[in-house]
Amino acid sequence: MAVSAVPWLEAVGLTKRYGGVVALEDASVTAHTGTVHGLVGANGAGKSTLVKCLTGIVRPTSGSVRVEGRPLQLGRPVEALRAGIASVPQELTVAPTLTVAANVMLGHEPRRRVGLIRRRELDRRASVALESVSLDVTLDTPVGQLPLIEQRIVMIARALSFNARLVIFDEPTATLSPHEAELLLETVRGLAHRGVSVLYVSHHLREIEAVCDTVTVLRDGRVIRDLERATHAALVALLAPETGPSASVDRPDRVAGDVVLELRAVTGARLQDVSLVVREGEVVGLAGLSGSGAREMLLTVCGAVPFISGSIALGGRRLRSGDTLAAVEHGIGFLPGDRSLGMFPTHTVRHNVALPSLKRYARLGFVDRRRERSAVEGLLDRVALAASPEAPVTSLSGGNQQKALVARWIGSDARLLLLDDPTAGVDVATRPEIHSQIRALTQAGVGVLLVSTDEEELAELSDRVVVFERGVVTGELTSHGLTPARVLAAMTGQPLEAKHTLEEDA
């Protein structure tokens, strides 16, 4: 990959202050045509702010950006787009009932003079964009009917349809399974191959290693290092100096406790005949691609999705299908992978953390705010979140919001925690802290059902891993066979090996 001498984009000395808070300090970054440039750093290191400065959503306090040598007008999203800078946001932002073509061309549909849409031209431009991401779908399919990964790729096609020369990805694989993530990385490589430059923001250092030609490392709003061909180990060393490789932590052998959760032959819209037991103090990992039933299991157990037949019992008490309230009342805590299912955005950190355990701080229906506040402060300490309980939760960065949600369930009376990607968007340094909090909970007797798109996390935390494929349990890995590689293999559709392991351990 020949790197041209003049970078396509050159940002120099970008600084952004919010009042007294410095979000970004004198950050410079360059992006060359046809290369993938990584952007890494802890939560709150300034990655998102930097990206927003480039896309014009945020006007930097000082600094400049040049595109092909010409200065870019800052703080104007339209100018950034016109210059060829497009971004694919972390959240899924498609209009599910509109067609693929309409989604790709959303907001800049080719029009006739009277304002009518030129259908054929729209289809033509959409298919050009879809071709450049190698997505083979019918143009008039409603986007909501596509698998998640294809919806994401439609979003990339939309970014490209603006004639983008630089595409910015912010944590694009956050909710994807390993196999899907690999597809997405291939799409990213394909973009670079076509001469587009890519700015790739992620906590997944393996992805960074796999896909990025150059990497910029941020810490506390400053650029601390620019690397070429960064390895995973080098990045870990820069981002989490104290933490060594922790994948091979020995699990203390626990005596299996009483049964917390028992599923018998549960069948639902996307689950078939699933039987499963979780004991006190046990972490049961659920592995599988998206749509395999692993995530659907969590939703079914907490009552967000109904089941048709079979039974679910929590501590011996049967749960009715779709009764979330009873499930939570009887001790189920659900940490959703999608933060929008868990957050109260107009409220304080205190409110967000305390809600499920509010009754404990209340007398005769009145909340004792002092007790609540000190309890919340203690919980924030435990997840190493240095924020005031009275701060609005939206003032926290994405990873810190995740920590607050973890704190919510640490502080509750839950006997069974359903964790869906508990460290999604959380930086390398904080991950072990959240993991150790989860372990501390299990030592106190809490049972955990864990879904993760990260095989290392599954291998690290789980006592055993149950493998799902198309709604059916296809195998189980017990503690002896739990390595990230094996989890990954089982997840990505090698059920025979998984079953083999099951026999081996039995």
Partner: protein, 315 residues
């Protein structure tokens, strides 16, 4: 905080004081007097109580468009038990509250359990409530109400009208309810993110039903305040309350930084609207002027909030 941020944060209070100063200068002999303040407090009491009920419904993220109809129905209930059955005044008040609670329950069940969007459900229930009202009263005017009942509007305590005291007491009660109780926190959570609330163990449906019942109780109380002061019942007396009640609640939004509906804000919002109406009347402006100015004030206040919300999202 910059001056601009402070101005935005306290825009309602600034508008409130600004209106007071403006009318005091324009009509120095009549506006800044105790008599006038008392009159505004007294006349605003009905709208205060309704705006407080509306606030609770807005806090849980729903709408209640049946406010005017339910006020009429409960007025009919109170007056007819006195006229047809010679019930005493206190029983008439209870009848109004009970009728309001039942209407609220119907709204709540339709929204929370039958899952009809509140816009539609409350329009339908409102229409039914209006029909029942007219069936009871046969569209006649009732006069010669129980003297004890009329005393609600004529009694003063330390020269403060009882109606204003009732409105303030209700405001205080609801303020405590929303800010300091488990129910208040549940209601705010439901309004912010119903899914997340459910997953946190909040009884979402029950919280919604309670909010609509509270709204109904407020409508019942408002009906008592209207009829006791008018010393009569007349058909469609609830017309014209819906919009200003919501206007006040939206004005009050700015008091929380544009994030949450709150009782204090709604209360001040009502008083601001009352002050503007009275002041303009004193300046001999035609009656449509008050509606025009109220509309403009609302647009300015709410657009400020919209700008700020956009800023919050952009960060």
């Amino acid at each position: 905080m910059s001056i601009r941020a402070i101005a935005e944060r306290w825009s309602l209070v600034i508008a409130f004081l600004g209106a007071f100063v403006f009318f005091s200068i324009a009509r120095p002999d009549t506006f800044p007097t105790w008599d006038n303040a008392r009159a505004i407090l007294d006349e605003s009491s009905v709208l205060c109580v309704l705006a407080i009920g509306v606030t609770v419904v807005l806090v849980i993220g729903e709408f209640d468009l049946s406010v005017g109809f339910v006020t009429q129905l409960t007025a009919a209930a109170a007056v007819s038990v006195m006229a047809f059955h010679a019930w005493p005044a206190w029983a008439a008040v209870l009848a109004a509250l009970l009728a309001g609670a039942i209407a609220g329950l119907a709204n709540g069940v339709a929204v929370a359990y039958v899952r009809i969007p509140s816009f539609v459900a409350t329009l339908a229930i409102g229409s039914i409530a209006g029909a029942i009202e007219l069936a009871i009263t046969k569209t006649t005017i009732f006069e010669g109400l129980d003297p004890g009942y009329l005393e609600i509007a004529t009694t003063t305590v330390y020269d403060i009208p009882l109606r204003a005291i009732i409105a303030a007491a209700i405001a205080l009660t609801f303020m405590v309810l929303l800010r300091m109780t488990v129910y208040g926190r549940h209601a705010a959570s439901v309004g912010d993110n119903a899914t997340a609330a459910r997953l946190s163990g909040v009884p979402v449906e029950r919280a919604k039903v309670i909010a609509f019942v509270l709204m109904g109780l407020c409508a019942g109380m408002a009906a008592v305040l209207v009829t006791s002061s008018a010393s009569q019942y007349y058909p469609n007396l609830g017309q014209g309350y819906l919009l200003p009640a919501y206007a006040a609640a939206f004005l009050g939004l700015s008091l929380s930084g544009g994030l949450r509906f709150n009782v204090l804000g709604s209360y001040l919002g009502v008083l601001l609207l009352g002050m503007v109406t009275t002041g303009l009347t004193m300046m001999n402006q035609p009656s449509w002027m008050a509606a025009l100015v109220q509309g403009l004030v609302l647009i300015v206040a709410v657009s400020g909030i919209a700008v700020r919300r956009r800023g919050a999202l952009g960060r």
